[in-house]
């Protein structure tokens, strides 16, 4: 009664190969840094993202078992936060706010123009790996809408010219 599903993959085993070797050592070092601290999952995930530029699926079961959590729980947290990435971003990240306050002062049109000027769609990274464009829902800059963010720098009353100049100036 062997089901075909079983022929290809053993049950109760992640489909991605779990992290090993040098990568595993780096991950254990990160986990060890947060040992004993309260609510260590988010700080660990931030450090993992800093190390890999993303949260590798292969790391999630290991983080889970270190914290007494299941890998599904870790994945639930990772997928909840848009800033935890499935693949590394480009060297620079441009975020455009798409929330209600910004929309009310023309954020949709701004976004349309910026996408056109940069030749990038949402979540897309330029071919040279230089720039990634991301939507964001509220930067907390509603008073200065429309808002944008270039890497760590916030931009209020954003215009196409200003945003494109910042994006193209970043090497």
């Amino acid at each position: 009664m062997q089901s075909p599903a079983n022929a290809s993959h053993p049950p109760n085993t992640p489909k991605v190969a779990v992290l090993d070797g040098e990568g595993l050592e780096r991950l254990h070092a990160i986990i060890a840094r947060h040992a004993g601290s309260e609510g260590p999952l988010l700080p660990i995930l931030h450090d993992v993202q800093a190390e890999w530029g993303m949260i590798p699926e292969a790391a999630q079961p290991i983080i889970g078992s270190a914290l007494g959590m299941s890998r599904a729980e870790v994945y639930g947290v990772v997928s909840f936060y848009h800033d935890f990435r499935e693949a590394p971003a480009g060297r620079h990240v441009l975020r455009l706010c798409r929330a209600e306050a910004c929309q009310s002062v023309g954020a949709d049109a701004l976004a349309e123009q910026v996408r056109g000027a940069l030749g990038l769609d949402w979540h897309e990274t330029s071919a040279d790996g230089r720039l990634t464009l991301e939507p964001v829902f509220c930067l907390g800059l509603c008073a200065c809408a429309p808002a944008a963010q270039m890497n760590d720098r916030l931009v209020g009353r954003a215009t196409v010219q200003r945003v494109v100049a910042l994006a193209e100036g970043a090497r």
Binding site: Q2, S3, A5, H9, S70, A72, E73, G76
Partner: protein, 959 residues
């Protein structure tokens, strides 16, 4: 209160509160009193008012996400969710107002806007809460235009990026994300009820979806153990049994009891005609409280498996092909041969083996057959090879041969000491209940050679693992008692009241001998002395500590001593007689407790009364109208020895595969081959039947009435859901055989057999089918003193009077490792297979466990040049077999581990005939072996396979 009877299968929306304080409120003008902490939703349900709901169910704590259950409460602002709002004194709740009606319709409209409207062809049609709620709130139109959604495969001729395909990876149920309303019931059931945490919500907002495991996982590759809790709580067709998809909605429910492990879960068999559509755990089941595992929930397809034998068969010699005959001919053939054996070799040359899988009534009849019809006491049961030391040890210490507490007791425990048991695999529903308590903060001590799954429980509290060398249980437990005695952690008041203080002082002197110190024992057991100390202190200091143990305790040459050491620990710390404490054996099979209770043993009548007891014998001589023997009969191993010597010639073996399940297979083989008449009464041609002369086809638990007694002494009803495919229930077959031998039995129904049991057995005197129908189940003793049974025993004192301390000297097993056999083999179970696998191997459970493997530590594997998945030869002093290797750190260096579910590997070929000093329970758990690379099956395996093929031939029916 409204004046009507509330059907008990209603969903009250949120779990019951156990507060003693009563709170009175009115709901829609109806006054109702409920315990403090009850939700408004549940209070309304108790008052007979149904508040619409989607995310709430009384299986799970309230979540408050669907917003359908909003109500208005006088003096409170807005419209609070009734599921998350607790009741307050004098509260005035209105569940039906224009405002809440408008809100509910708006909420439903949003739900339906992202749900397919294919109700007529949907598998949940007629059993869909979303459908019911749409009706309840009066939804008549959906104003939203079709737009972005999760359910349309294609939109405007483009593939819909939000649509996901069905997940068919699990063999028993299907996950269809298109129908999901993201109520999170499944995720919460996996966490709260099952404790696996295999599911999560992926993403957020509109992107939220239920996900098994991580992004790339399917249900099968995730941690999912297929317990079915998520399917049970799903309000739509998102998670639904494949059998429901195939058959349709059931039309009637038969309440019955699972026939797998000793937890004894209550189930509702949902039937359509004579077809089982689904088995759903009963919410009112007192052992399982609405939960199940993959075996009981899904693995019942063996009952209608094509390999099931439905007609009786006979043959002259076991090498002949089988001949299909009528029941009359088979029974006559069996009876004649039994009588012939007795005439030629004496009255004591025949015997029976009762089954721990059959009902109490059937077991009672089989032992009665031996005693009243054969005229000897040659009756034994497979409990011999699993829990006989429990019976002996606990009877000696406390006065009863059974666990002391009910499973509910685990909800009150502060620390669980688990010894030689693997609850999450062997007793999964109890495992889930224990894990829930561990998440609530209870401590855990595991004494086991292997790193069991319980230690990996998600969100558990502190745990201590004592990874001892197999065979050193007594030494480690005595060392724990040594620490408790030396540090004065024992409960003097309890001991003085309940036990004999002077006897304890003697025991204390015995304990304080330096040979029992943790340092000394570390040398024997390889458990660091410090860990033994920590464990002893934790156990002694916990306000309510409980002990749960399994076959890792009993199946040793010191099994009985270990049970006594466990009893000593519990008594000296006062951990018997109140909820949350106790000594609880986890019974292997559904009716091990019952088969022991029913007098399956060669030295005991039903109710554990010795055959030499004149009063009891008189009672049965009167009831049965025949003289009875006062000579204890043969135990299973003695039967085999006597058969090998030619003194034992006939055996009636009901529902047990001794060849596969008993130790030292070659010895069993030669014993069976020596019999004149071997009658096998089973569902399938099993390994034992390879040597049989008569095969009587058995009936499954779905096809008969009766009772099973679980590990907590609970007598549960088994009810016939369909007609026996083989034509007769098992008890009827035993009656036919007995009557062919001139017994003249005239039972018309199993209830009459139970009446006879009640009449002759004091601890069952109050039991009747009428009582069981009314109470659903009772725990023995059930008599004048306890008319509704006894959930917790020894409350005010031990049954035997004073609890007895017995010195537990550690006598090492004769089975030692040495140059030729340097590793210790120990055996166990997996979740998805059961015992010899006769049932589970004939279901899709093989997806999870297609073959037995040998777990070996990386160090031992490397030394031998063994790689993952290699075939290896496992050899002991008794025999050898080959099996695939699995390299894991779950076992310590020097220890290897396997399961015995598959006959092709036959782990018991290597186990030896060492056994418990008191009860002959075989030492399955310790065998010295050598493991070496191999390139194919052993010679024994080849020979056995060819014999097996030969002996299973069935002649075509005569024209």
């Amino acid at each position: 209160m409204k004046d009507f009877i509330i059907p008990d299968d209603r969903d009250f929306g949120t779990p019951a509160s156990h507060s003693d304080i009563a709170v009175t409120l009115t709901v829609d003008g109806i006054p109702v009193s409920v315990p403090a902490g009850t939700s408004v939703m549940r209070a309304a349900a108790i008052a007979g008012i149904t508040v619409p709901k989607l995310c709430a169910t009384d299986h799970l704590t309230a979540f408050g996400s669907c917003r359908l259950c909003v109500v208005q409460i006088d003096g409170m602002r807005g419209t609070p969710a009734s599921c998350t709002t607790p009741v307050a004194e004098g509260m005035v709740v209105r569940t039906q107002t224009d405002e809440v009606a408008r809100i509910r319709r708006g909420v439903m409209e949003l739900y339906i806007s992202d749900h397919p409207l294919d109700c007529l062809t949907c598998a949940a049609n007629g059993d869909c809460e979303l459908q019911d709620m749409a009706g309840a709130v009066g939804l008549r139109e959906v104003r939203y235009e079709p737009g972005k959604n999760h359910f349309q495969r294609r939109e405007n001729d483009e593939p819909n990026p939000e649509w996901r395909a069905k997940d068919h990876s699990n063999p028993y149920f299907t996950f269809d994300p298109a129908k999901c309303i993201v109520c999170s019931r499944c995720v919460r059931a996996c966490e709260e009820v099952q404790g696996t945490f295999a599911l999560t919500i992926d993403g957020r907002g509109f992107d939220s979806r239920v996900s098994a495991g991580m992004a790339s996982d399917s249900f099968l590759s995730s941690d999912c153990v297929s317990c079915g809790a998520c399917v049970q709580v799903c309000p739509t067709a998102t998670l639904i049994e494949n059998k429901v998809i195939e058959v349709g909605t059931p039309e009637r429910i038969v309440k019955t009891t699972c026939a797998y492990c000793g937890v004894g879960c209550s189930f509702d068999a949902h039937m359509r005609g004579e077809t089982v559509v689904k088995m759903v755990p009963s919410k009112d089941g007192k052992a399982n409280r609405g939960h199940s595992c993959v075996k009981g929930r899904f693995a019942w397809g063996y009952a209608t498996h094509a390999e099931r034998i439905l007609n009786p068969m006979i043959r002259e010699h076991y090498t002949d092909p089988w001949r299909v005959v009528s029941w009359e001919e088979a029974i006559r053939f069996a009876a004649d041969r039994l009588r012939a054996a007795q005439e030629r070799h004496g009255r004591d040359s025949v015997g029976v083996i009762t089954s721990s899988r059959c009902t109490n009534e059937e077991t009672y009849l089989v032992q009665k057959l031996a005693r009243a019809v054969f005229g000897n006491n040659n009756t034994d049961t497979c409990a011999r090879v699993c829990h006989s030391p429990t019976g002996y040890g606990l009877k000696t210490a406390f006065g009863t041969s059974a666990g002391t507490h009910d499973f509910d007791s685990v909800e009150h425990t502060d620390l669980a000491l688990v010894i030689g048991a693997n609850p999450t695999e062997g007793h999964p529903v109890f495992g889930s209940r224990l894990r829930r308590r561990l998440r609530e903060g209870a401590g855990l001590i595991v004494i086991d050679p292997r790193h069991i799954d319980l230690l990996d429980s998600v969100h558990r509290n502190d745990a201590i693992h004592l990874p001892l060398l197999p065979g050193t249980n007594v030494a480690v437990l005595t060392a724990m008692a040594h620490v408790i005695a030396a540090e004065g952690l024992y409960d003097e008041a309890y001991i003085r009241e309940r036990c004999d203080w002077d006897e304890f002082l003697e025991y204390r002197d015995f304990l304080l001998d330096p040979r029992h110190s943790p340092e000394e024992v570390e040398r024997q057991s390889h458990v660091p002395a410090d860990l033994i100390r920590q464990a002893a202190r934790a156990y002694a200091k916990a306000p309510r500590a409980s002990i749960y143990y399994g076959l890792g305790v009993t199946e040793h040459s010191q099994g009985s001593t270990t049970v006594m050491a466990i009893a000593n620990l519990a008594m000296m710390t006062g951990n018997i007689g109140k909820p949350g404490t106790g000594v609880n054996p986890l019974r292997g099979q559904n009716n091990v407790q019952g088969s022991c209770d029913m007098g399956s043993f060669p030295h005991e009548f039903p109710g554990y009364r010795h055959v030499t007891d004149i009063e009891t014998r008189k009672l049965y001589e009167q009831a049965w109208g025949v003289p009875l023997s006062d000579e204890p009969g043969l135990r299973i191993p003695n039967m085999f020895d006597a058969a090998t010597q030619g003194r034992f010639k006939g055996l009636y073996c009901q529902g047990e595969d001794v060849l596969q399940s008993d130790p030292d297979t070659s010895h069993v083989q030669s014993a069976l081959a020596n019999l004149d008449i071997l009658i096998v009464h089973d569902l399938f041609l099993n390994e034992t039947s390879n040597y049989a002369h008569v095969f009587l086809p058995g009936s499954s638990f779905l096809e008969k009435d009766g009772t099973f007694t679980n590990a907590e002494r609970r007598i549960n009803m088994v009810r016939r859901a369909m007609t026996p495919l083989n034509g007769h229930a098992d008890w009827e077959i035993t009656v036919m055989l007995a009557n062919a031998l001139g017994a003249g039995w005239d039972y018309g129904h199993p209830s009459e057999i139970m009446d006879e049991i009640a009449l002759t057995t004091p601890s069952f005197s109050g039991v009747s089918y009428a009582l069981l129908d009314r109470e659903q189940s009772v725990q023995w003793p059930c008599n004048e003193k306890a008319p509704l049974g006894t959930p917790v025993m020894h409350i005010d004192g031990f049954v035997r009077g004073k609890g007895k301390f017995i010195n537990t000297e550690y006598v090492p097993s004769e089975e030692r490792t040495g140059g030729r056999f340097p590793l210790l083999l120990t055996t166990g179970r997996t979740l998805t297979q059961y015992n010899v696998g006769a049932q589970t191997r004939r279901t899709d459970n093989t997806v999870w466990h297609p073959e037995d493997v040998l777990e070996i530590h990386p160090h031992d594997a490397e030394q031998r040049g063994i790689r993952e998945g290699d075939y290896v030869r496992v050899a002991s002093r008794a025999g050898d077999t080959t099996i695939r290797a699995k390299i894991t750190e779950r076992v310590a260096p020097g220890v290897v581990y396997t399961t015995f579910h598959h006959p092709t590997t036959q782990a018991n070929v290597v186990t030896t005939d060492n056994s418990d000093w008191a009860t002959n329970c075989p030492e399955f758990k310790v065998t010295a072996v050598q493991v070496s690379p191999s390139n194919g099956p052993s010679e024994w395996q080849e020979q056995y396979r060819s014999h097996s093929e030969l002996s299973r031939r069935i002649l075509p029916a005569a024209e």
